[in-house]
Symmetry: C2
Subunit: 82 residues, 2 copies
């Protein structure tokens, strides 16, 4: 099995309202030394062992489905034989 | 700055309906050799450099705010001097 971990986050130019809300909630809990919070999505995709061209295909899947390229960026890592 | 990356995922015993929907969407796009999809949340927290006891505090923040311990698990990694 090939495990692919995908991380989708908002572009830096886009206001991360959820992140701001979480930061303020954490501050309210008493943790003051927090500068910044960003929130994103995390996906684990399990592909068959004999998958060919996985990297290009995951790239397409991210662009077309998992991320909104207008406001989000993504990165992924492929773990062989997970 | 100390960057903490937090990954929150559903427990294995909990039905991941979003993951199932994404799997079926990816299959429909023509990628057939996909076994399994899990969806979760991803957080980046930036703390001050001189933060003491970061690991315990992040543990508490995850338990109390970022994850629902009834249905979710989390893991995090602390990147020094990010």
């Amino acid at each position: 099995m090939k495990l692919v971990k995908v991380y989708v986050t908002l572009k830096n130019s886009v206001l991360d309202a959820q992140g701001e809300a979480i930061k303020s909630a954490i501050n309210t809990m008493g943790y003051r030394k927090l500068n910044d919070v960003h929130m994103g999505k995390y996906f684990e995709l399990n592909f068959a062992d004999d998958y060919q061209g996985l990297e290009e295909d995951v790239d397409k899947i991210c662009d077309d489905l998992l991320a909104n390229p207008n406001i989000e960026t993504y990165r992924f890592e492929i773990m062989e034989d997970a």
